[in-house]
Structures are given as structure tokens and as C-alpha cells.
């Protein structure tokens, strides 16, 4: 059985967890086994039914009032006891901030190794084989496991959602007992960044600005674009972040976030190697830069040599037209 951890934020299961579940189902089919999903929380049973359509034949609901607050220690204990009972051969996470916090804790508890942020999965001789970027994507490593269960986290926004999964399946509720003093490092509060609905790692379209944006106020031009393009988010180069034009949450690159959206739009970004490391796996890249020699044009599918302050307003009108059709 392949077990997939489903992350809940703001009372909803995350899309990237559906991606991991969909991929888990594809590998389960290869291995003639089933994909099961696991929800951890308090009063979260209602989320189970949605998971069947992404490939889960069974959903475990691990309940405890303590789970209302995330903590790597309590969640990993819950997953550990489920693993002992159900003996999955493979456990998958989405490599979100929660997945990256939790998966290694579970792996260490089980005494097994973990492959992080995988971008390809397949099976070979009845086992999981994954590809993961190393050196910020400058190389790709193919990895297999010598320990069991095989644990991997999958990069968000890379794996397609399953389209026509089943309508229903089995829900298995389990009360998990965890002594309160065993909960270590608990999340007390979540502070949302104002006006940010979508993180750059989750967006379908990332609209980024660099030093060429010239100032903080001009990032409003990019925010206007995100307000008309569905599922988009504002990104930035490190230069723009260092100049404090935008918070470093938005930084794309080797020491920022790695994104693989459908479309990456770069405005006034030169395309330094550390920036490319964070976005060159985007499906399509377009760029506007006044320097025809800028490195960003070497990776762009479509580029405009020109002044971004002239191009953006015109682009906005064209986009509006195209999107309203």
C-alpha cells in the first residue's frame, strides 16, 4: 500500500496534497496495490470524501484534539503508529513547508532515509525510483531506497492531478492517544502576510520583478497583473528583496524559493545563475528586459527587448482582452 499524507490548512486539504495522492495512485497502479490517504486533525472527517476522487481507496482519519495545532512531534507520532499498524511500502508527502518539516522527523523515527523534493517518480523491480534536483537543479539525481518503508516528498506544482478517480471508498477513523507532555514545538498562531493569497510555490503563474523595477512602488504594477491573471503570485529577484522593495517570502532562486509554475514572467531581471536555479523548471518563461544580452533571454520562450515601464501597461490591456474572451 502507498500511504499519502494530506495536509490541511485553514480547514481545507491542500492542492499539492492532491497532486501527491494522484502520483501515489499512479505508482500504486504500477505496483498492483492501493493508494491510501491519511488526514490528521480534529473534526476533519468531512475532508475524506474529496480524497477518493484523487485516487485514495481508503482514508485514515487520525483524531485527537491536540492535532488542532500542528507540531512535528505529535504528527510524526501519529503517522508512526499508523505505519506500524498498516505497514505501507511507500509513504509520500508534498514538499510544502509542513511536508518538509514532518517527513524527516517520521523517517528518523522509522530509521529510514528520505528523498526530498522529488520531481519524477517511477517504479523499478517492484520498488520506487525517484529523481530529485540537487545543486538547486543544476543536476538531477536518480535515487532508490535500501530501507523500507520508502519515503519521499514531492515538489508542489509538478505532478498532474488525477482526473477521473473513484466516487467513494472506505473511511477508517482512529483515535490516537498522545500524552500532552509529548507534544513538543507546537504552532501557537499563524500570521498571514497581508494581501498574499497564494505563495509563489503554489501559483500557476509567477510574475516577478528585479532591480529593473526601480522601486518599491513599481511592484504595484506587478500586483495589478496578478489581480487579473488567475492563480498568480508576485515573485522577485534577490536584488529587489535586498533593496526591501518586497518581502523575502517572494524571493525566487537558489536562496529563495524554487518554483515550477506553468508560466514565469520576468520583468527587469537579468537572469543570474542563482535566479535561474529557482525558476528554470517553469513550463514557460517570458521576459521583458531592455538589455538584449541579458541571460534571462537564454532561457525565455518569448522575450521582449524593451522598457518594462512601457510594456507592462500595454501587456495588462492585452491580457485583459485575452482573458475576457
Amino acid at each position: 500500500m502507498i500511504l499519502v499524507f494530506i495536509e490541511i490548512r485553514d480547514g481545507k486539504a491542500k492542492k499539492s496534497s492532491f497532486e501527491a495522492l494522484s502520483e501515489g495512485k499512479r505508482r500504486a497502479d504500477d505496483l498492483n496495490t492501493e493508494a491510501h490517504a491519511v488526514l490528521i486533525g480534529h473534526g476533519v472527517e468531512g475532508l475524506a470524501s474529496e480524497l477518493f476522487s484523487y485516487g485514495a481507496s481508503k482514508v485514515y482519519v487520525l483524531e485527537n484534539s491536540l492535532f488542532a495545532h500542528y507540531s512535528a512531534s505529535s504528527y510524526s507520532q501519529a503517522l508512526h503508529s499508523l505505519t506500524e499498524e498498516e505497514k505501507p511500502e511507500i509513504i509520500l508527502f508534498s514538499a510544502t513547508s509542513m511536508g518538509k518539516d514532518l517527513a524527516p522527523r517520521l523517517a528518523a523515527k522509522l530509521g529510514v532515509s528520505l528523498a526530498s523534493e522529488c520531481t519524477v517518480t517511477s517504479t523499478k523491480e517492484g520498488k520506487l525510483e525517484v529523481t530529485r534536483p540537487i545543486f538547486a537543479g543544476k543536476a538531477l539525481a536518480t535515487v532508490t531506497f535500501k530501507s523500507s518503508p520508502q519515503i519521499a516528498s514531492l515538489r508542489p506544482n509538478v505532478f498532474p492531478l488525477l482526473e477521473d478517480g473513484a466516487k467513494d471508498g472506505e473511511v477508517v477513523k482512529k483515535e490516537v492517544v498522545i500524552p500532552e507532555d509529548q507534544v513538543k514545538g507546537r504552532v501557537e498562531e499563524t500570521l498571514r502576510e497581508e494581501g498574499v493569497e497564494l505563495d509563489v510555490t503554489e501559483a500557476d503563474v509567477v510574475i516577478s520583478g528585479g532591480r529593473g523595477m526601480k522601486g518599491q512602488e513599481n511592484f504595484d504594477l506587478l500586483k495589478e497583473l496578478t489581480s487579473i491573471v488567475p492563480h498568480s503570485a508576485v515573485g522577485a529577484s534577490r536584488s529587489a528583496v535586498d533593496a526591501e522593495w518586497i518581502d523575502h517570502q517572494h524571493q525566487v532562486g537558489q536562496t529563495g524559493k524554487t518554483v515550477s509554475p506553468n508560466l514565469y514572467m520576468a520583468f527587469g531581471i537579468s537572469g543570474a545563475i542563482q535566479h535561474l536555479a529557482g525558476m528554470s523548471s517553469s513550463k514557460f518563461i517570458v521576459a521583458v528586459n531592455k538589455d538584449p544580452e541579458a541571460s534571462i533571454f537564454k532561457v525565455a520562450d518569448f522575450g521582449i527587448v524593451g522598457d518594462l515601464f512601457q510594456v507592462i501597461p500595454l501587456l495588462k490591456e492585452e491580457l485583459k482582452k485575452a482573458l475576457s474572451e
Partner: protein
């Protein structure tokens, strides 16, 4: 307050990575090695805490003798001590191996710890695993990807970065913390620090000293292949006047990329 900072020697982020396809490894020749960028924030935070609260900061790395340069850099920044945990096995990309070695060393040699600092991710392996694994192996609370740390006595609140938000994590010490950009602005080494670091002796601890046998920490991941990523092809670059260029871009997005 005794603080240990775990650091790694990694290739500079500007490095062109070349692959040795025979051995499935990265070629070391021509690479410049540095202290992993996120580890710099960890060292800085440890130094600031010592300056505020007293105590001792020790930098620790697992690696071969080349990693002594990285430890010298930490000493030059101001750590009181530095220790090399000598492991001659080249990069395995297996976080558990390093985490087990560190956890054993912490138990046997550094048991007077209050805080264990890491970078949120090492450049190269890009695992983001070791801090959580060490926390689990030692039964400690963890806060990863931390951009702000507030300490009061034996407790702390760590602000940890998540998608579009910050989480406030409550910790009681001892605890594991991994640093994210934004936590602080790392200092440069001073000439005085560099001179002092030159003179400082760096103890070398072997796996045998830690009662670790190779089979205890044998990698459980196998890297069967390392390849270069597919090269992106440069696409269409236009130099039309802005109105026409914008039109063409949207046409491309609509008709060819089919994303709009």
C-alpha cells in the same frame, strides 16, 4: 547558554556543476567551496545569543579534512570552538547518515547543549532533512525555516516561514532551530578574528571515537545516476515597438503556450 552550530562545506552558489558520469559524482576540481549560505545565518544567530546571554558557541561539521577551512571561517566569525567529526566517505546525499552521526556526537561529546542551530537547507544536497532528523533522534522540539527568534529564559518563540504566512512555534529548551534568510545579517570576519582562528586548534573526532561503525550509518539511499538537467532552448526574442511586442507576447501565451 551553550550553543552548537552545525555547518557544511559546499560549492559556491555560482558554481557550474560538472558531473563525473563514471562514478556518479560531482567533479570537485574547479569548484570554490564556501560555508553553506543558510549556515551563516545560524552562526550569526548563535553569536548574537552568546553576546546577549553569555555561554559558548561551538561550530561542528561532519566531513573530511577539507572542511577544516569551513570551521576556520566560523572561528573567524567568532565561535569559541570548532570540532571536525571526521567522515572520509564522500557525499552520499543521505541525510540520515549525517543526522545519526551528529546525534551520536551531541549525546557523547556535546551533552551540555541548550540550543542546536542548523541552516534550513544545505546547498547541493538540498535535503532540508538533517535538523528535523536530529531533533527526532534526540527527542527535542524543532522549529525549521526560522526568520525570528524570541527567547525568554528557558523558552522561546520561533517565527517560522510557511507559504504566505508565518507560524509562531513555542519551544522549551533544549531545542533544534534551523535558520532562514531574514533571521539576521551575518557579520564579516575581522582581521583579528582571522588571525585568532589561525592559531586555534580544531579537535578531530573520528567515527570510532563515537562508537559508530560503518554499518550503523550506512547510507540507505542509493544514487544510481546523476545527470544534467535538460537544456532550455532560447525562444523567440522580439524588438518591436512596445504595443506590438505586448500583443505578440499575449498571442504567444494564448496560442502556443496555451497558458492564458
Amino acid at each position: 547558554m551553550n550553543i552548537y552550530v552545525f555547518v557544511k562545506r559546499v560549492p559556491d552558489t555560482e558554481s557550474k556543476i560538472r558531473i563525473d558520469h563514471e562514478t556518479n559524482t560531482i567533479k570537485e576540481e574547479g569548484l570554490t567551496f564556501v560555508l553553506s549560505p543558510y549556515d551563516e545565518y545560524a552562526v550569526e544567530e548563535a553569536l548574537r545569543l552568546r553576546e546577549a546571554n553569555g555561554g559558548k558557541v561551538t561550530a561542528v561539521t561532519v566531513g573530511n579534512e577539507k572542511a577544516l577551512t569551513t570551521l576556520k571561517k566560523c572561528l573567524a566569525m567568532g565561535t569559541d570552538e570548532a570540532v571536525l567529526l571526521k567522515d572520509e566517505v564522500p557525499e552520499t546525499y543521505d541525510g540520515l547518515r549525517t543526522a545519526k552521526t551528529l546525534a551520536r556526537a551531541i549525546e557523547k561529546k556535546f551533552s551540555d547543549y541548550t540550543l542546536l542551530f542548523f541552516g534550513k537547507q544545505s546547498v547541493g544536497a538540498d535535503n532540508s532533512q538533517i535538523p528535523s532528523m536530529v531533533a527526532e533522534l534526540l527527542g527535542l522540539p524543532q522549529a525549521n525555516v526560522v526568520t525570528k527568534l524570541e527567547i525568554e529564559g528557558n523558552k522561546g518563540i520561533a517565527h517560522r516561514e510557511i507559504e504566505g504566512a508565518l507560524e509562531k512555534v513555542s519551544l522549551s529548551f533544549p531545542a533544534v532551530i534551523s535558520a532562514q534568510k531574514g533571521l539576521n545579517e551575518p557579520r564579516y570576519e575581522t582581521l583579528k578574528g582571522i588571525m585568532a582562528a589561525k592559531k586555534k586548534e580544531i579537535p578531530v573526532v573520528t567515527l570510532a571515537d563515537l562508537d559508530l561503525k560503518e554499518e550503523d550509518i550506512a547510507p540507505l539511499l542509493e544514487v544510481t545516476k546523476i545527470e544534467s538537467p535538460p537544456q532550455r532552448q532560447a525562444g523567440k526574442i522580439v524588438e518591436e515597438e512596445p504595443a506590438e511586442a505586448a500583443k505578440q507576447m499575449v498571442k504567444f501565451l494564448h496560442e502556443e503556450a496555451k497558458v492564458i
